[in-house]
């Protein structure tokens, strides 16, 4: 069953934590809510889980309206950011807790607990208390606990953020594998773009209680709709358009050609800036001719191993730096060199 969220609003006093949020989550997909801290990701997840009551809007799962169903009857599995295993229960009892609440009989429960512990590779930890387990193990048990009652969806709130880098990477792969195997609809909250790009089928980028853009990782990287998304997902040069140039794209006095994208959402009327990824910026000799050529000075050069980052100041707009990334052993310019850049039309993105 698909999860469909329509026009959700949530306020905390004066603060609007969710500002008319609408979104569809397809059955079996892995969706990440991505955004900076405080943008409302957790709030959205908690409203979906039923832990927070919305001030407006609706949530539907398949045909059923969830708004009036309390959290405990929604049948969603939730994994929290902080360790939330019951400290007075062993790993096995934690996993079985949801089954106890559903009054499963003993043998069926034991089987299910074993199955779940095997799923997260922790069968040998069954009798341990949470305090005797590492953070990574605890979160895996929390995952098993959430999955045990066969929930209709899995909701994860930054489940990896308290772990150290190596464990985080392992668990990332494991969560994704489990999700694929069970085919369970999953929503994960994160503020880490790398995590979202690596795991999600679909990313929902949020900012200040609103959805900025929804798309696959590739779409968001290639075709960011707004300057915010462009900047948040990978690095992107954002070139504010010259004022009073309605209908055409002019930057630093130079008209720029932009290739129209098949599904481009932005149009010239709402355009505020152009974006281009650093790896798409090509260096040219000063005076080179062609489309989308700008005169620039090399401001600084940083060698970073496999890439070299060159910061360039456009001659007519030195305050807006353009960063280029050169790969491998390309010839590296010196600081202060007067050059030009070519901004390929098909690499330029229109940002609103």
């Amino acid at each position: 069953m698909d999860l469909s969220i329509h026009d959700l609003v949530k306020r905390f006093g004066k603060l609007t934590a969710l500002d008319h949020v609408s979104l569809e989550v397809a059955q079996g997909s892995f969706v990440c809510f991505l955004g900076p801290s405080g943008c409302g990701k957790t709030t959205l997840l908690r409203v979906i889980a039923g832990l927070e009551e919305a001030d407006g809007g609706s949530i539907r799962l398949g045909e059923s309206d969830l708004s009036s169903i309390p959290a405990r009857n929604r049948n969603f599995g939730v994994v929290f950011q902080s360790y939330s295993l019951f400290p007075n229960m062993t790993a096995a009892r934690n996993v079985g807790y949801g089954l106890e609440c559903r009054r499963w009989d003993k043998p069926r429960m034991q089987n299910r607990i074993k199955e779940m512990l095997d799923l997260v590779h922790l069968a040998d930890q069954a009798e341990k208390l949470p305090s005797q387990m590492s953070g990574g193990q605890q979160q895996r048990i929390a995952l098993a606990r959430a999955l045990a009652p066969d929930p209709s969806a899995l909701l994860l709130d930054e489940p990896l953020s308290a772990l150290d880098a190596k464990v985080r990477e392992e668990l990332r792969i494991e969560i994704r594998a489990v999700q694929k195997r069970l085919g369970i609809t999953t929503i994960m909250v994160t503020h880490d773009q790398e995590e979202a790009l690596a795991m999600a089928d679909l990313i929902v980028v949020m900012s200040k209680g609103r959805i900025e853009q929804i798309g696959t990782p590739q779409q968001l990287y290639r075709e960011p709709a707004t300057a915010f998304v462009a900047d948040f997902i990978g690095r992107m040069n954002v070139l504010p358009l010259d004022p009073g140039a309605a209908g055409s794209y002019r930057f630093a006095g130079t008209p720029l050609a932009v290739a129209t994208l098949a599904n481009g959402t932005a149009n010239a009327a709402t355009a505020a800036a152009l974006g281009i990824r650093p790896e798409a910026v090509a260096l040219r000799e000063r005076g080179a001719s062609g489309e989308n050529i700008l005169a620039v000075d090399v401001r600084s050069v940083s060698f970073l191993g496999n890439i070299t980052r060159v910061e360039l100041a456009p001659e007519n707009r030195p305050e807006t730096a353009i960063v280029a990334e050169l790969h491998g052993t390309a010839t590296v310019p010196e600081t202060g060199t007067r050059l030009a850049v070519s901004l390929p039309a098909d690499a330029l993105r229109v940002l609103s």
Partner: protein
Amino acid sequence: MSVSAAREPQRAGKAAGWASDRSITMGLSVLAAIPILLFLLLPLTGILLRGFETPSGFGIGNFTETFGAERFWRLVLNSISMSLTATLAAVGLAYFYAYALQRAAIPFKPFLRIAVLTPLFAPSLVQAQGLILLLGRNGVLNRFLGFDIDIYGFWGTAIANALYAFPYAYLILSAALAVADARIYESAETLGAGPARIFRDVTLPATRFGLAAAIFVVFTLVMTDFGNPMVIGGDFSVLATEVYNQVIGQAQFGLGAVIGIVLLVPAILAKLIEKRISSRQHALVTAQSKPLETKPSRGRDLAFSLYAYTVVSLILSVLVIVVVASFVRLWPYNMSFTLKHYEFDVQNGTAPLWNSVGVSLATAILGVAITGLTAIVVQKFKNPLTGPLSLLAILPAAVPGMVLGLGYVLTFNDPANPLNVLYGSFTLIVILSVYYNHAHAFLISSTSLKQIGPVFDEASTTLGGSTLTTLRKVTLPLLWPTLLGVGVFYFMRTMVSLSAVIFLVTPSTQLAAVSVLQLSDRGAVNQAAAFSVCIMAIVIGCLLIVRTILWLAGAKNVTLIR
């Protein structure tokens, strides 16, 4: 996809689930609210109403009559001057005692920490008993060393009360001195400040809130205490003893109520100020703070050791002398060993002792149930009752035991009150003891519940647990060591409490602490001492048992002595 029944949200049960959880939390809230209204708010209203009740109807006659009497103002002056003296002494001594234990290297700190709390294990008149045995007419000093000290009166009362209040001050100040940010001390030192200057410019300001809190707590405690002035006051009367004389001696309930109200006012004021102050104490230490470590310093450590051991000897000697007196034939003339005072062939024999144990156990059980429930309702539920309930729950902190006890008499001895059947029973004494100590017990439980945090409730809810399941399987198992601690607190306080129950006991519901008072009143000092020793022994025994249980269960971080 496979559409199994388990995957569907439970639509049929949804309305019922929502409603039943709501009605259960509401039901529990009402269950917590009713007794607190009946047994706390009603008696307090009762005392206010009675204060305004005169033979000619409702009016301020009692007040004008009381305030017009020269005797009343003398009592006010006596109470205030004695309380100020005792407060200054207790807080001053306790501050440096706590300082010595927190900031200096002294041998046998655990002993010093426990020993200084022993007055909490004894009825609140044991200090007066000890002082009399030491310095009274038939005290050791006057009889054998040729002194001519008259301890009865102002000084005896002040000293006894200072010793009595010392542990309360120590607990507050010790907590205030325990939090310190080493970085501030280090920067003061690197800037060239000497120890005296650091104390004046860093330590004292950082603990001024704790100091103020200790002063308010001790002042109200002493002002409203009645055991010590009864025993050692002689002709020196204070407001607390006057309430007793008016009510028990002359059945002047209206006048008693007026003085009760007079005692209530400073107690409530002090509590309000203290609350404001202590809420600001916490901000001083942040997450980045570095704990202060004591560096050895010979001179300082020696001086503080001397000081601490002197203070602890003073406190212990008063208790020890009571223990000794209980084992000698006739203090101080015949000091040969005997157990005859433990035969308890006077009055009701050992009955009061067992009554006390029974009442204290019942108070512990009922108290844990009531405060546990109230704390859970206030911390975990959200409905219109929880706000008022949390206020009522801490109200007893501002009500002196005597005043609450008087309120009970005025309310429940009224035949028109359906609850009048409880009057004269142990049940009412138990209930009074529960509500007298309610505030502190409630705060202990609430703090512990807050530390457990909402994430476990939310985890349980999303897994399908109802409110009751969550309580039973998660909250209570995590809370039980704290609740056991609350039970011990109730038991201890009820065993030694005198002023709250004094108006409610009858010859058939006699309690140990009251027996001590009556025995010493009749001059049976040795038997009174034996009774006190039994009370202390029972309290200490209870502490040891519970400590063992907690130790066996692996719960080591529970504070039992409060």
